[in-house]
């Protein structure tokens, strides 16, 4: 089941919410309410995952069992032996992920990358003083709003979030804000990410015949697609949590507005950056052991990030490209925090544009079927000769033609119908760019803009567009 499905929106989500609100409003004793709330979260989250098939359930169950048993062993161990068990458990988690991601040519268990990191955090944070509550652990690892694409929340964060969930009162403001966030997320996914995705899929299938401008449109469209796909999911997850009175940690914060790569990683997949910082960068010594070691540590982190994201040299290169720019930024800026040296709107704009272009170029290695194809696409963009004619293929432009705009064109006196595909393409790209670079985050919009009829229309528009839309991209990682 995914957030962008009829069954989720019209069956699962209402049942889940009614259950939560029912427990919150019940007259049971506090401790019974608390237990019931956790059991409800576990049952519904398990049900959410069941649709992904026996194979994914089996592997997830194995991972849960492994970490649960490891956790119990850690608590029962004596002296300093627990750290060896922790290391062994984490090696087991990494081995499971590594096997399915890099050694097994068959299907990938759904969400394994995300829950493996959650399991690692659980094991790493486990201590004898606090003990292990199996129900709390299952709530943490199964919690459905984060299971597919994160955030990779730490154990304590989720535990704190659900700890007094049963005590919260039904709050119409929270529900309204959650509905707005969920609606905005759905719209981003089905009305923007999936339309851009169609052009991206087409473009990457025909790199050899693409013109220079085609190549640029394809590369930028993929950056936009990833943005709307991932931020759409995060908004929907946040919206669901908001409706039950829980604040999910921010995982995505207008990353393409960043003025440098360091700031970008403070805004893109924030929980992943936090995970790598806490469990790889800092244990390696972070920035405490001199500049050379710092640079090596940064490269190691991004190399692992690349490997985590996918199987193939393209992902490794993508990680290296980000690592390299991070290192360069660190060398030039020292330890100054990103965004501190804002000078003027023009300079900030140029920095944002250059960061976006670099990130976009790196995404090409992320998306292209191979490094050759990625280089071919980038080669077309930087080859000055290829820019002669400034031409976009009609077939590529056609991918952007959505029915809604087609009908508007039909009743509008647009004089040159042979250009309507191009007009539609530019409309979608410009609207996307405005939302990404100039717009507020969905979080802010949901707080500020409250017109219920507009949101109602947007939700219906999103629902009507569900048929045939693709899955979320980050589910594959």
């Amino acid at each position: 089941m995914t957030f962008n499905s009829y069954s989720f929106i019209f069956i699962f989500l209402p049942v889940f919410l009614l259950g939560i609100w029912g427990i919150q409003s019940s007259f049971l004793q506090d401790d019974k309410k608390g237990t019931l709330m956790k059991l409800w979260l576990i049952v519904m989250s398990a049900f959410f995952f069941v649709g992904y098939g026996r194979f994914s359930i089996l592997i997830f169950s194995f991972s849960i069992l492994w970490n649960l048993l490891s956790g119990l062993a850690i608590l029962r161990s004596r002296g300093g032996f627990s750290k060896y068990i922790k290391a062994f458990a984490i090696v087991g988690d990494v081995a499971l992920l590594g096997y399915f991601k890099y050694l097994n040519a068959g299907a990938m268990p759904v969400a394994i990358s995300f829950y493996t990191f959650s399991q690692i955090m659980f094991i790493a944070e486990l201590n004898k003083e606090e003990g292990l509550n199996i129900i709390d652990y299952l709530c943490y690892v199964l919690f459905f709003p984060k299971i597919l694409q994160g955030p990779i929340a730490d154990y304590e964060n989720i535990r704190a979030g659900i700890f007094d969930l049963h005590k919260r009162k039904l709050n119409s403001d929270n529900i309204a804000e959650g509905l707005r966030l969920f609606t905005l997320g759905l719209v981003k996914k089905v009305l923007l990410a999936d339309v851009l995705g169609k052009a991206v899929d087409f473009g990457y299938q025909g790199i050899n015949t693409a013109t220079a401008l085609d190549a640029l449109v394809i590369a930028v469209s993929y950056s936009f697609q990833l943005y709307f796909d991932f931020s759409g999911y995060c908004d929907m997850a946040e919206g669901i949590c908001k409706m039950i009175g829980m604040d999910l940690r921010i995982n995505f914060d207008s990353p393409y507005k960043s003025g440098n790569i360091s700031e970008f990683w403070d805004r893109w997949h924030i929980s992943l950056t936090r995970f790598f910082t806490k469990y790889i960068y800092i244990p390696l010594g972070g920035s405490r052991r001199g500049i050379v070691r710092t640079c090596i540590n940064i490269m190691v982190v991004f190399l692992i990030s690349g490997i985590w994201h996918g199987n193939g040299w393209g992902f490794v290169l993508w990680g290296c490209l980000h690592g390299l720019l991070m290192v360069l930024t660190r060398l030039l800026k020292g330890d100054k925090k990103a965004g501190e040296a804002k000078k003027s709107a023009v300079i900030d704009g140029i920095k944002t544009l250059l960061t976006f272009l670099y990130v976009t170029a790196a995404w090409v290695f992320f998306r292209a079927p191979g490094i050759d194809s990625a280089l071919a696409l980038l080669g077309k963009i930087i080859n000055i000769d290829a820019w002669r004619g400034f031409h976009i293929s009609i077939k590529l432009a056609e991918c952007f033609m959505v029915d809604e705009i087609w009908y508007i064109f039909k009743v509008t006196p647009i004089p040159r119908w042979d250009k309507s595909n191009y007009i539609c393409m530019w409309i979608i790209i410009i609207i996307s760019a405005l939302i990404i670079f100039r717009g507020d985050t969905a979080r802010k919009i949901a707080k500020k803009r409250k017109a219920p009829i507009i949101y109602g229309l947007l939700l219906v528009w999103g629902v009507l567009s569900l048929g045939g839309v693709s899955t979320f991209l980050y589910v594959n990682f």
Binding site: Y6, S172, L179, D403, K410, P452, Y455, L459, L466, G467
Partner: protein, 359 residues
């Protein structure tokens, strides 16, 4: 925001959502472009171009007494020809690339006695194009994932049909604007201009398979073929003795046979044909047609758009044969003779010359 603001938002939000979704549902159910709920409205310019989505509804709610079943080998039939030549009101229910299970799925609906279609018309005839290569598929294998909400009887999942932008825009709004309804006689037709049918076009797109050294065991294809016939085709033949099943082997071009030879399974394939024919000929309500040894047709690639798909003229010719009995096989012996002719055509054809030229 005060509390009442939140409540007001929730109320207006859900009222808006509910009103629009109800209106959309009523509109889709009323027009019903996939014929899921009722027969076509008089005067609405329906567009019929989606086999997976529209075939089940048509099978349930159209007025017809015979149907065309099969793969893309059947899409270029004109149902008007069946009316003109055989006097049947025929409905085309093809699935491009159909596997036997696809045939089974749609035939199950066709022969469902509880449907509007069966309550109003008996099934007089089924015209079934049998693609021998597909009979080695798994018995439950289908070519494309089906939109099950249009195939099952679960009303809950109908929301995927009722609340669907494509249905609303492509199959309700667009037909209203364009006023160009599909011609039901020609629905699903492909490669419909003459330009597609020429030697250069066929040879340019043709890619021979990798040669196989070891010859396939003659009996290898039989078990799966038997299973597919028994599970997916013959039950309908047995259970509906009053329906005539016109089963035909479509006339693939000589390039198809080149593939068979190159992959080294000519004997196994001919044996598979023989087995299938023997099975089918056991039933009085089966009329079997073998068109593959129409030498003038299959050896002239100007009749084809690729190595298997033939010109709609051939479809018309086959319909004439259904009417007058030409190319009909009535016994195993006759079929053996026809296969011998086929073998001779293959043996005598100059493949070397065909492949020696540039296209």
């Amino acid at each position: 925001m005060d509390k009442s603001g939140g409540k007001k938002f929730i109320l207006y939000f859900f009222v808006t959502v509910a009103i629009i979704l109800i209106l959309v549902s009523v509109l889709v159910a009323y027009v019903d472009p996939f014929f899921h709920y009722h027969k076509p409205l008089n005067g609405f310019p329906y567009i019929v171009d989606n086999q997976l989505s529209q075939n089940p509804g048509m099978a349930v709610h159209m007025d017809y007494d015979s149907c065309i079943i099969g793969s893309s080998m059947t899409v270029n039939f004109h149902t008007d020809d069946f009316n003109e030549l055989i006097g049947l009101n025929t409905l085309k229910l093809s699935y491009s690339g159909a596997y036997p299970r696809d045939d089974y799925n749609i035939l199950s609906i066709v022969f469902d006695k509880d449907t509007y279609a069966r309550k109003n018309n008996d099934m007089k005839a089924v015209f079934l194009g049998l693609d021998i290569p597909t009979l080695t598929a798994e018995t439950d294998e289908i070519k494309y994932e089906l939109p099950m909400y249009l195939y099952d009887k679960n009303p809950v999942n109908d929301v995927k049909y009722l609340w669907n932008k494509d249905v609303l825009l492509e199959y309700i709004l667009k037909p209203v604007i364009q006023r160009k309804p599909s011609n039901m006689s020609e629905i699903y037709a492909s490669w419909w201009t003459e330009d597609y049918y020429n030697l250069q076009y066929v040879m340019h797109g043709y890619e021979a398979p990798e040669p196989v050294d070891e010859e396939m065991d003659k009996e290898l294809l039989i078990p799966k073929t038997k299973e597919n016939l028994e599970v997916n085709i013959l039950p309908f033949v047995k259970e509906n003795p009053d329906t005539v099943f016109y089963v035909f082997f479509p006339p693939y071009s000589i390039l198809y046979w080149n593939n068979v030879i190159t992959e080294n399974h000519l004997e196994a394939t001919l044996n598979q044909y023989m087995f299938a024919a023997r099975e089918l000929l056991q039933y009085d309500n089966v009329r079997l047609f073998y068109f593959q040894n129409m030498e003038d047709v299959v050896t002239d690639l100007n009749n084809y758009a690729d190595y298997t798909h033939y010109n709609p003229r051939i479809n018309r010719f086959m319909t004439e044969c259904f009417a007058d009995g030409s190319y009909e096989i009535k016994s195993e012996e006759e079929f053996e003779t026809e296969l011998s002719k086929m073998r001779k055509i293959i043996e005598n054809f100059d493949f070397e010359e065909l492949f020696s030229k540039e296209y």
